[in-house]
Structure formats: structure tokens, C-alpha cells
């Protein structure tokens, strides 16, 4: 391919960093593959570039199977098995995470970098009191004593607004509602004040009322601790109110990334328009941004990954991967024919 990869990456760099300061975390050309039946492994992340500033909340949206969880886990050096990191770098606090040893990675995870996943019950040990589980994180990573760890656990439970935190310290996971268990998992992720938090669809199973409270909390904690967050969600609506920038992932590629307002008010990639049209409740809008399902969709190697589903695809789209071009300040789109707004 003749696309100057380095040039594209350096462009991405400037804009996907949303500012002049050095980014807190800098993901460069991250590629992940899964073994497939055939000779070629299946590419699941096809060169992700994403940099996040301190204090910034970046949303990541995309349909089921787009690669969101794969990205979340690969950033921590733990691609879902049997996936493997096929290339790329993740720079964080002066180190390249993907070149660290297993034990160095373990020290980083849960301490400087942490991830909150859905299904909190699977994350908690059913036999241990939640207070002890939270305190254990501080003991392991910060080396504090038992008493201090418990004091910190109680404080973080208060911060995540668990009702009656003193009593909840001694509760077992099964005694908690789903919303409370999710708060406990968030408390565990935050007790060491990590610099970077990844939330992987962690609130989507909760009531909107509880979601709103937890999101406000995560945002406040990020602001208070100067930490940054990658907020993965299938609920696009939440990101419109809660994230500074939003990246749209399609088939293992970021097809569009922009600050919140241009992304929702001037979306440019046909896939983003299709996604937003799905929320509009207008069949007419949806029809104008989708093509009838011919069942012919397949993995593409050359050209635009979205070509089979794109209502405005042209012959050129099928031959070469479109460039990741800046169409407005910090607004990048991987498309030959981005939609322009007056």
C-alpha cells in the first residue's frame, strides 16, 4: 500500500491528542489478531491510534464485535485469549507497556492503570467481605498496612456513594444489589488513584438512574484525581453528555474521532451517520444511511472496511484503505467522501 503510513500516523498523533501537552497514554498503530482456521490470522484491531490527555474522558462506541473489549484489554497488555498483539506500542508514564515483563505489567494493573468491566459479580470473590477485597488492592499495590488499607477502603466506598458504607464493608457480594456491586468494583479500580481508567461497558446493565449517578461520580473522580478515562459504551447517548471526545470503532478501526460537539452535530463518516440514524426513530433517515442486507458482507483486506455497508461507496473505496484525514480541529475521519455540513 502506498499510503504513507508514517505520515498518517503523525497526523493522527497531533489531532487525536486534543492539545499540546504530552498525552497521558499514547496508543500507536496497535494491531491484534486472532488465530483463524486459515493460514492468515484474523485481524481484529487493524492499527489503532489514540492518545488521551490527563483529565480527559474519551468515549469509544461501536457495535458488538467491533473490537472494543479487545482494545481495552490489549492496552493493559492482556488481549483476550487466544488473541495476540501483532504490533504497535502503548506509551504510558514514560514506558512502553507492551514491552514490559509480566510482573512489571502486574504491578501496573490495578495501580496506575485499571479497568472496570460489566458483570461485577464475576469480579468479586463471593467468599470475602467486600471491605477486605477493596483493602487488599491498597495493600498489594501501595504497600500500606492493614489498618490504613481499611481506612482507605471505607473512604473510597463513601466516595462511590454506597449507602451505609461502614456496614457494607462487612457485607458479602451476594448481599449487594447489582448497582451496589458495580460501585464496589469501581471502588476497587479507583482505590489506588490510577492515572488511567478504562470502563468497558461497565454501567450498561444498570438502571439509567444509577448509571447517571455512577457516571457523575466517575467524572468527578477523574477531575479530582487528574486521571483520564477511556469510556467504552454501546450507549451512544451517554457519551454525548459525558465524554470530551468520542471515537467510533468499526471492524477494528477508528473510523471517526472528534470532540463531542462536532461528532454529534457534524458527523462525517457514513458509519457514524448510520449509527446516529438508528437512534433517531426515523425509518427514512435509517434507510438513507444503510444498504439492504445482501448477506454478502465479508472481511475486507484492501480498501475501506465499511464499503459493503456504505450507501455512498465508490469504486476507489474498494481498492485502497482511505486515509485518516483531519476535516476540522481535532476531527478525523477515515473516508474518501466524508459528509460535509453547511
Amino acid at each position: 500500500m502506498s499510503l504513507g503510513a508514517a505520515e498518517v500516523i503523525s497526523k493522527t498523533r497531533n489531532a487525536s491528542v486534543g492539545g499540546d501537552k504530552p498525552p497521558l497514554i499514547d496508543i500507536r498503530n496497535l494491531r491484534v489478531t486472532f488465530p483463524s482456521g486459515g493460514a492468515e490470522p484474523k485481524a481484529v484491531l487493524k492499527g489503532i491510534d489514540l492518545a488521551v490527555q490527563p483529565g480527559e474522558i474519551v468515549g469509544l462506541v461501536g457495535e458488538s464485535g467491533a473490537g472494543k473489549t479487545t482494545l481495552a484489554r490489549s492496552i493493559l497488555g492482556l488481549p483476550p485469549s487466544p488473541g495476540r498483539i501483532a504490533g504497535g506500542e502503548v506509551h504510558f508514564e514514560g514506558r512502553q507497556i507492551l514491552s514490559l515483563s509480566e510482573s512489571e505489567l502486574r504491578r501496573l494493573r490495578g495501580h496506575r492503570l485499571s479497568v472496570v468491566v460489566p458483570n461485577p459479580r464475576a469480579e468479586l470473590n463471593p467468599l470475602l467481605k467486600v471491605g477486605d477485597q477493596i483493602a487488599a488492592m491498597a495493600k498489594i499495590h501501595l504497600g500500606v498496612g492493614g489498618k490504613e488499607a481499611r481506612r482507605m477502603a471505607l473512604e473510597i466506598l463513601r466516595e462511590v456513594q454506597i449507602p451505609d458504607p461502614e456496614r457494607r464493608m462487612d457485607a458479602y457480594p451476594h448481599e449487594l444489589s447489582g448497582g451496589m456491586a458495580q460501585r464496589v468494583v469501581i471502588a476497587m479500580a479507583l482505590i489506588c488513584s490510577p492515572a488511567f481508567v478504562i470502563s468497558d461497558d461497565a454501567t450498561s446493565g444498570l438502571d439509567v438512574t444509577v448509571q447517571a449517578q455512577i457516571l457523575a461520580l466517575l467524572a468527578k473522580l477523574a477531575a479530582d484525581h487528574g486521571s483520564a478515562m477511556l469510556f467504552i459504551s454501546r450507549d451512544v447517548g451517554i457519551t454525548a453528555h459525558f465524554c470530551d471526545r468520542i471515537a467510533v470503532l468499526f471492524s477494528g478501526e477508528i473510523v471517526e474521532i472528534a470532540p463531542r460537539e462536532p461528532l454529534f452535530l457534524e458527523p462525517a463518516h457514513p458509519y457514524t451517520l448510520m449509527l446516529l440514524a438508528a437512534f433517531s426513530h426515523s425509518p427514512k433517515l435509517r434507510d438513507s444511511w444503510s444498504v439492504p442486507d445482501t448477506g454478502r458482507r465479508r472481511e475486507r483486506n484492501a480498501g475501506c472496511q465499511y464499503a459493503d455497508r456504505c450507501p455512498i461507496a465508490q469504486p476507489v473505496c474498494r481498492t485502497q484503505r482511505p486515509p485518516f484525514a483531519e476535516i476540522g480541529p481535532g476531527h478525523f475521519v477515515r473516508c474518501y467522501f466524508p459528509v460535509r455540513h453547511a
Partner: protein, 351 residues
Amino acid sequence: MSAVLTIDNLYKRFPIAGSKQVVQAINGVSLTVEPGETLGLVGESGSGKTTVGRCIVGLIEPTAGTIRFRGTDLAQRQQHKAKLAGKIQLVFQEPNESLDPRMKIGDTISEPLLPLKLDRETRRRRTADALRLVRLNPDLLDAYPSELSSGQQQRVGIARAMVTEPELVVLDEPTSALDPTARAEIIDLLRRIQNERNTAYLFISHDLSTVRFISHRVAVMYLGMIVEQGSAETVFNRPQHPYSSGLLSSVMLPHPHLKIESSVSLKGEIPSPINLPKGCFLASRCPFVIDRCRHEMPPAETVGERHTVHCFRHEDVAASVPASDTFNVFMKEAERILGRAGPIGVAPSLQ
């Protein structure tokens, strides 16, 4: 009585094993659904929505109260078996849970017809009809559920419910496991089927935006009670119960400038239905609470046409924020942003 479904003062208690206590899941629910009407049932997790649905379809027995289907008391379901067969159907949240993985799609769809004792030709025609209604490719009749996407699986779930030509379908979060596009397609489908067959729906969902769009009327549930019930437009544009208003305030539309204004932000979670508080159930979370609320249960008050509210201060609640039609404003915005005549291409450039 023209209503398809009439529920009168329904109660449901669940005993707790090894304890004298009971779960008071439903505490006096009354509602009606007319032919061809969609009643949206909303409320936080644990408010009792599924329990109401399960009582209607007969999966569980109510503790007290009556449920009538076209005037027939469903407590006598057994006596009226022939008349009721296939008339009330249920669609679940997780499409693959209701589908037998070893059964071909075609057999899954036609299975509910077996008890109706129809001749083979009618069965075949009804199955084909159901398939057409949900726009599934007839090639899929021989497929197994695992070969289908979750959107297609949910179409099968709906076809299976529609095949008996029901007059009432209880849809318990039919779209919450789906991607946005599949969800939108299912919603379109349900509306089209309703237009064609005049089917009544009880549509249970957490997604208020979808409920606003699909429902004619809406019932807001809290701790086993319907605290407000009315036309979707009235309840969403000017809620009169603090709980309705609080639920609406947590809706996040995919537009950075559109937020539903409300004087209520709900803190904490729904209390346990084991020891119900005295007085109004919302008192512990309600910013409008007054002394009276803590010892007296507010009665149902009719505040408009088929619009009832259980709150002493509903007038103050209604006056606390100006009426607004945020969902329609959002739809207009979406048309403005997404509805351009056609995408304007720029010359391909590789720089």
C-alpha cells in the same frame, strides 16, 4: 367493555424460603390496554414490571386482584382454555433463551400452533405469514438459532409470538440485548405488525426514548405500584409525579445540547420490597416530600383523560419545570443533522 386487558388492583407476594417475611412485588396495580394500543411499562429494576407481565400470561398466579382479557377473568384461565388459546403471547429479552438450540427455526416458529389443532395447510400458511411479518428470509426456516445474529433471533422470537395471531403481546425488554441498528429494526417491525393486525402491546423497557416513540400510553412503576399513568405525550412532556420526572431526567439522548429538564434527580436506589415503608413509597428519595407523605399513602387522582397520579403534590411537580417536548426536538434535530439530500463527496485525496 372494549379493552383487551383490564387489570384491577393486582397484588403479588412471593414467600421467602425459611422466613416469615414476603416480597411485596406488586402492590395494587390497575391498568387497561385497548385494542391496537401500546402501553409502555417503565420503572427501575425491581419495580415489578416483569412480575406484572408474568401474571398476565399466566406464568404465575396473582395473590389478589383481577386480570381480565376481553372481559374473561383470567383466574378461570383453565375453563376458557379453548377461547384463550394463543390470544396472549410473551416475547422475552434474551432471544436465544426462548429458542431451543436443537430446533430448526421453522419448527420453533410453528410450535405454538400445535395446541390450536389447526389443519396442516393453515399451520403452513400462518407460519409463512409470521415469517413475512418479521421479514425473515424463508431460507432460514431450516437454520438453527446459533446460525442467526441476535437481531434475527429476536425476529424469530417475535414471529413465534405472532404466529397464533394474538390480540395482546407482552414484550419484556425485547430490544435491550440488541445493537442500535437491530433495535431500531425490531421497533419498526413491531409498529408495522400492530398497524396491520391491530395487536395490543404491553411494552416493558428501560429505554425511555424507545418507549416514548412506540407507546400510545405509558405507566410508570415504582415498588409494585403504578405511580403515574397517561398518554405518552402528556407524561413525558409534563410529568406530574416526581418519580416520572426523575426517570426522565436521567435519559441521555445522543445530542450534546438536549437534556430533559427536571426538578428531580433521583439519588440512591429502589428500596427492598420486603419491608415497605409506611406512607408514600418514594418519600425517602423524593425532593417534594412533606410530613404527610411519611404516614399517608397518596391516593390515585385523575388529573386528565385516562391520566392518573399518586402524589399529594402533583400540581407543584407539574409546575416545577416548563412543559417540554425534548424527544420531538431531538427527532427534528436528527433530521436536520442526518437528513441532508445526499452526502457531498470531496475529491478522493491520498495526499
